[in-house]
């Protein structure tokens, strides 16, 4: 427009700002590295091919659901219904298939359909009814639990061998579920980092009012995030069904919390706006490896829940402290 001499160059941002950003982004990778080294050096039977294989298989279920949770948390929301949705998918899949491989394709479609419906319902509750996501998804959790118990009150059905390959097969040296997780993670990363939709997910979570002023359809973005989350949870439910081999009604319990733990430990702000799936993936590996180590050291699996609880508070405290200074 005009060529006026620039006013003196402003100093770059606040001092040290970038460093802190880097810590927030890389902290989880450093922790992952430390835990790996400790495991390899100090934990017997840790550094074995069998253990690596087991860790990757175990990480897949949590990883896939945590990818979806990342979308919702980035928009500033939260989804407590993912665990119960995984449980429903497990029960329905194994219950309906009853060992019949011909039903695999219909079951996959049914699971994705369940995800779609749940996601749309959650999303509408949040954006159309304007109810707090905590309440909406807690209510959804209750609804899904009801549906599970209407369908059955005991462990039902079984998974055909072909279906169980989803959890126990390998493609080349790589476990199938890990490959699925990797593929989905890449897709999610591309969506979040390289598409307008991903940009808007961040913008809505960072400041919904301002995103709206820029013309972003914030309701549609939020709705879409819940749909992505539920569909991924349904896929995680399928892997879980293959892993368990039968329709256990309590299969999905705890995944709502552990997926949120993974997202937060991975550096995504609970208030939305910053973070991404790379950190979530690292956190999933970190949590899975921690659990395996506790296992190998003969510590009760229930202690792992204590660890989960402690880890989330520590992670949030660390990230919040950084943010307060920034």
């Amino acid at each position: 427009m005009t060529s006026v001499p620039a006013s003196p160059t402003a100093r770059p941002g606040l001092s040290g700002f970038d460093l802190r950003e880097q810590v927030a982004r890389l902290g989880v990778w450093v922790a992952l590295g430390v835990v790996l080294v400790v495991g390899i050096v100090a934990v017997p039977n840790f550094a074995t091919a069998a253990n690596a294989d087991a860790i990757l298989r175990q990480a897949a279920v949590l990883g896939i659901v945590a990818l979806g949770q990342t979308f919702v948390v980035l928009t500033g929301g939260i989804d407590l219904s993912v665990g119960m949705l995984m449980g429903l998918v497990t029960v329905l899949a194994n219950g309906i298939m009853g060992g019949d491989p011909a039903l695999i394709l219909p079951i996959v479609l049914l699971a994705l359909g369940c995800g779609l419906v749940t996601g749309v319902a959650n999303g509408l509750g949040v954006v159309a009814a304007r109810v707090d996501p905590l309440i909406v998804t807690l209510a959804m959790l209750s609804v899904l639990q009801g549906v599970i118990f209407i369908y059955t009150d005991r462990t039902v059905g079984s998974a055909p061998a072909e279906f169980r390959d989803l959890a126990y097969g390998s493609i080349g040296p790589i476990p199938t579920p890990a490959l699925l997780l990797g593929g989905l993670a890449v897709v999610c990363w591309v969506i979040l980092a390289r598409t307008p939709f991903g940009r808007y997910v961040h913008a809505v979570g960072s400041s919904a009012q301002d995103a709206r002023k820029a013309g972003i359809p914030i309701d549609r973005i939020r709705l879409a995030a819940y749909v992505v989350c539920s569909v991924l949870a349904a896929i995680a439910g399928l892997v879980l069904a293959a892993r368990l081999g039968s329709g256990f009604t309590g299969a999905g319990a705890g995944f709502e919390l552990s997926s949120i733990v993974a997202v937060v430990v991975g550096g995504t702000a609970l208030s939305g706006g910053r973070g991404g799936v790379a950190g979530t993936l690292a956190a999933v590996l970190l949590l899975t490896i921690l659990a395996t180590m506790l296992n190998l050291l003969g510590i009760s699996p229930f202690a792992q829940r204590v660890v989960n609880g402690v880890v989330i508070v520590v992670a949030v405290a660390v990230y919040t402290a950084q943010r307060r200074e920034a």
Binding site: M1, T2, S3, V4, P5, A6, S7, P8, T9, A10, R11, P12, G13, L14, S15, G16, F17, E21, V190, R194, T195, P196, R199, Y200, H202, A203, G205, S206, S207, Q209, D210, A211, R212, K213, A214, G215, I216, P217, G273, R274, E325, A326
Partner: protein, 551 residues
């Protein structure tokens, strides 16, 4: 702005292309928020090639009017016409599609995205279904260069100063090739260099046949750059007239509804007693970050009863210095004493020592927007007995603070978000008055405040000083600094480069603030001798420039 303005007024251009239909027209528009009638039957027409001023007191409805034009608010009654066609905007996206772009008063940048991502938000360059990141940064850098805005395209918005964000907000609005650009107080945190620059941009827009709707409380700006002015009062249209046919005095009278002796700064005391110990003493405040220091070796003393003004361009370190004094800048080294007692670098220590800090950035730091005004006003004091909050005491404190900041008591129960921008500023000022500070640091204390209330705040600051408080005031509104302060410290690139008495000319200060200060020569620093400069607090400035204080 004060009478000391030495900027040359831009010649008002032709009064728009009268034959073309208005880009935007409001007819009988009304809007209420609950029981508050923010707008009531307002008519407004902005023509291509015109710079149209919208003025009024705080809460008069200017921003609401803009919200309706921008599709943020939907009118309860009345019609909005775009180029003669009645239109109902479904949302901001629809207004944008109609060629309307807005510089929002409270800024609309998304803090977690960077500058380029914000400027092109929702209009990202794409390659197929993907973002074209390279083109985004290339376009953005070119755009910022064209506007001579010294901000990096990749800088995260969260780390920018308020003024930098203001510039980015302007760049964002100008990147949209809009036929109507609405600016809600675009200069509120800009210093005169950037203002000048913006005015030239506006002149270019006018020449290119665009329409500009311009809101400001700085009436001199209105008189200098606009050709038509519309005055609102209490949500109603008072009058629309050619700017050339009005005056500062008339605008004020129309806005306030009564005659007001505008632009009279409170009288300074004849002399200030600097024989005793200083109330606030700052020694060698430095932030060494990487190779570049944000501020370097700044020392100053402020005596009871004194108002010290901080002047300087954007990025000169005014805000950083104040933040360093209250102990919220990480990595700073400094010695701060209040009445001879050392103050630790933490906000709670600062409050305990009686340092109040009116922050510049009310949206992010100054106010909890979703709390009530009462809660915000008592947030600095929180009267409690045995850990239980004392509601009655809190209300009393809030009421006193509201009165002192001339905020109407009836809004105490409302959420701060529902206040107009200027009234939010009064809450920020009020909450620091509540602690009964011994030292008051003010960063842009009158940002976005209307003329009448501005004079109130100036009088308030003077009154507080007279009661023994030591006040440091940073402001980008130079006439204000010169009119109110007893002493003016000029910062440039993080250093204290000059100390001048209050009441020197703007040119004197600008010369010191901008480059060497060597142009200063005979432009009126005379008479500076008496005030300070002999108390040893002043750094003489860089070796290559003459000391400017005592001549």
């Amino acid at each position: 702005m004060g009478p000391a303005t030495d900027r040359e007024p831009h010649a008002p251009g032709p009064p728009g292309h009268l034959d073309e239909p208005p880009v935007i027209e409001l007819r009988g528009v009304a809007k209420a928020f609950g029981i508050v009638r923010a707008l009531d039957g307002v008519d407004l027409a902005v023509r291509p090639g015109s710079v149209h001023a919208l003025v009024g007191e705080n809460g008069a409805g200017k921003s609401t009017c803009i919200g309706i034009i921008a599709g943020v608010h939907r009118p309860d009654a009345g019609t909005v016409l775009v180029r003669g066609t009645p239109t109902r905007f479904a949302g901001p996206a629809a207004a944008e599609a109609a060629g309307i772009s807005v510089v929002y008063q409270e800024q609309s940048l998304v803090p977690d995205l960077d500058v380029a991502q914000n400027i092109y938000l929702h209009r990202e360059p794409r390659r197929g279904p993907f973002l074209d990141t390279r083109r985004l940064y290339r376009d953005c850098t070119a755009h910022l260069e064209r506007l001579a805005i010294p901000v990096a395209a990749r800088a995260p918005v969260r780390g920018l100063s308020v003024a930098e964000r203001q510039l980015v907000e302007i760049a964002k609005a100008l990147s949209r090739d809009a036929s109507l650009i609405v600016m809600d107080e675009p200069t509120a945190s800009l210093t005169s260099v950037e203002q000048e620059h913006l005015f030239r941009v506006i002149e270019d827009l006018r020449a290119a046949g665009r329409a500009v709707l311009y809101v400001s409380h700085r009436l001199d700006e209105i008189l200098a750059i606009t050709d038509t002015a519309t005055v609102l009062k209490d949500g109603r249209l008072v009058r629309t007239m050619p700017t050339a046919a009005t005056s500062h005095q008339e605008l004020v009278t129309l806005m306030v509804g009564r005659e007001l002796v505008a632009d009279l700064y409170p009288p300074r005391p004849a002399s200030i007693d600097r024989s005793g110990p200083p109330r606030l003493s700052v020694r060698d405040a430095t932030i060494a970050a990487g190779g570049q220091s944000a501020i370097e070796d700044i020392s100053l003393d402020v005596w009871p009863g004194e108002i010290v003004g901080l002047a300087g361009l954007i990025g000169s370190g005014r805000t950083t210095l104040l933040r360093t004094i209250v102990g919220v800048e990480p990595g700073a080294t400094r010695g701060v004493q209040v009445d001879g007692v050392e103050v630790d670098p933490s906000p709670s220590a600062a409050i305990a020592a009686g340092i109040g800090f009116v922050t510049e950035d009310r949206k992010l730091e100054g106010l909890a927007l979703d709390l009530t005004n009462l809660a915000n006003l008592v947030s600095t004091t929180l009267p409690a007995r045995r850990g239980v909050y004392q509601a009655a005491a809190g209300r009393a404190i809030a009421e006193t603070a509201a009165d002192r900041a001339s905020l109407p008591r009836r809004v105490l129960g409302a959420r701060s978000r529902t206040l107009s921008g200027g009234n939010q500023q009064r809450v920020v000022v009020g909450k620091w008055l509540a602690i009964g500070p011994r030292v008051l640091l003010c960063d842009e204390p009158t940002r976005g405040i209307d003329v009448g209330a501005k004079a109130d705040i100036h009088a308030l600051l003077r009154g507080l000083a007279e009661s023994g408080m030591a006040i440091v005031m940073a402001s980008s509104d130079l006439p204000e600094v010169l009119g109110v302060a007893d002493r003016v410290l000029v910062l440039r690139e993080g250093r204290l480069v000059a100390e001048l008495p209050g009441g020197v000319t703007e040119a004197t200060v600008m010369a010191a603030a901008a480059v060497g200060g060597d142009t200063l020569g005979d432009s009126g620093a005379a008479g500076a001798g008496g005030t300070a400069g002999n108390d040893g607090t002043m750094t003489a400035g860089d070796a290559d420039e003459p000391p400017m204080g005592g001549r």
